[in-house]
Symmetry: C2
Subunit: 300 residues, 2 copies
């Protein structure tokens, strides 16, 4: 077994992590926290979302945060962009990258963004085109690529259809999301065998949630397929929207423990990341679900 030499982590804590947190953070705290993340060695941070504030009030200060953070030239600062209006605001705020999102499952897409998949394509096609014209990096997130909370199993062909369309619109890469954290390594096999027979592995990012504690095993399995790009959230910040109290995004801290233990380089300083995790735990007033963070804290 040959593991990859380098892996690139995208830190999604300030967006995917924070969006499900009820306690509102002050803009100044977000800025301090993102600045800490910027200095950890991570090369991409999804720092906020330009979804309408009505839907995600926690991230309603996306514009101000984008203006106030100290930009590290080695970091790509991206944000979630749902539509043309969001793109205008995001460009004004100075994003480096735009993320667009939709589901592989028709029902999840409808519940989540209140549009059919076909309707979503026409909106996202416009956003992707606009972002590329503005010379921005564009990532397409596809959620529920393994299982949908409403439809059950999602077959790889359904994921491929959405990938084809997003790549045709011009996305640079695609992040495949185990949104409800149900996948086991067998499902990773089944999906990646199909996906990697069609697209180069450099264009595929894996995005696991740790709802049932399977994320690190799924990442290990993805590495065995040569995948070198993963999304993760500091401390495992971000619950599961379908299950209050359950875990959401896989924790960057646990991912780093795995990768560094396998001898894989990430460029990220684990200690600096821990400090940023302790900072946000304190601001949110609660322990985050990462086990390696809890261990580190017990030794602190």
């Amino acid at each position: 077994m040959r593991w990859p030499n380098d892996v690139q982590i995208k830190e999604v804590g300030p967006r995917d992590g924070l969006q499900n947190e009820k306690k509102r953070l002050a803009t100044a705290d977000k800025v301090s926290w993102i600045n800490m993340l910027s200095e950890s060695g991570v090369r991409e941070i999804e720092y906020s979302s330009f979804v309408h504030p009505k839907w995600v009030p926690q991230l309603s200060d996306a514009h101000e945060v984008g203006r106030k953070i100290k930009r590290n030239p080695n970091v790509r600062y991206s944000a979630l962009v749902p539509n043309r209006k969001g793109l205008e605001l995001a460009l004004e705020a100075g994003i480096d990258g735009a993320s667009v999102f939709m589901s592989a499952s028709e029902s999840h897409n409808k519940k989540n963004i209140n549009k059919t998949i076909a309707e979503t394509y026409s909106v996202l096609g416009e956003v992707i085109k606009g972002a590329k014209q503005a010379n921005k990096h564009v990532t397409g997130y596809i959620s529920t690529v393994f299982d949908c909370p409403f439809e059950g199993k999602i077959v790889p062909q359904q994921v491929i259809r959405v990938c084809d369309q997003l790549f045709e619109f011009g996305v640079d890469d695609i992040s495949l999301g185990d949104t409800i954290g149900t996948a086991v390594p067998l499902q990773v096999d089944q999906l990646l065998e199909v996906v990697l027979s069609r697209y180069p592995k450099e264009k595929i990012i894996m995005h696991f949630h740790d709802t049932r504690g399977m994320a690190i095993a799924n990442i290990t399995r993805s590495l065995e397929y040569g995948i070198t790009r993963f999304d993760s959230s500091i401390g495992g910040l971000g619950g599961c929207p379908y299950a209050p109290g359950a875990a959401g995004n896989v924790a960057t801290n646990d991912v780093l423990y795995l990768l560094h233990g396998l001898g894989i380089k990430t460029g990220i300083d684990e200690k600096k990341l821990q400090e940023a995790a302790f900072f946000i735990q304190k601001k949110l007033g609660k322990a985050l679900p990462s086990k390696s963070l809890a261990y580190a804290e017990s030794q602190h």
Copy 2:
């Protein structure tokens, strides 16, 4: 990739799980709980320890528990047995199996059981012989097979030396423990390549702790080597003795989610196991660290 068809789980919650819990459980509660576990379909339960009560007061009722539990003929009830005196008590209490334990690391062995490895051999040799004469199944636990909190990396040759000696004494099988939960799948590769070139895989049990969230990935990796026997603890009961608040044994619930998701049979009913986990959570007055249990609870 071919996964094994069947895997055998040994439930160690009532012993390895409980021994680090400060809150003393009533004997009657232990008996009810072990009876619930007995009905879950699990084929082996390590139900207590015959270590001197001074060392593990929580398990000082090992004899009474052994007498009072309702024996399911499909379950092997085993207990930890440290020495000749413990063996006498354990045989009186009606154990089906005896577990003996020592470390692959000289320093950990000294700290943990206050004997050198050589001194431990002479004690365990006697216990193993006595238990085999009484026609009991005997498992040898070897702890710190990957890393020692005092010595650092443990080389596979060191583990092999202890395995050789225990097998020579007559143990039926050996459980290899990642006692401090530091291993990543690369270390599983390094150890299992050496171990399985020497002993049949049926005689090797893997025992992972989830202190840094790596256990499910390490179990997946072990399955890839054909390992079909694992120790785990219901709900992830049992903290890390070196780190208050950090996770200990991998959770049986998470292991079952993985195995059943991979299409591997265990004979265990996940729902019955969940009920036993909810029961013990209530008795201990705290949430257990299993993520799949927390998810199940949020949906309960």
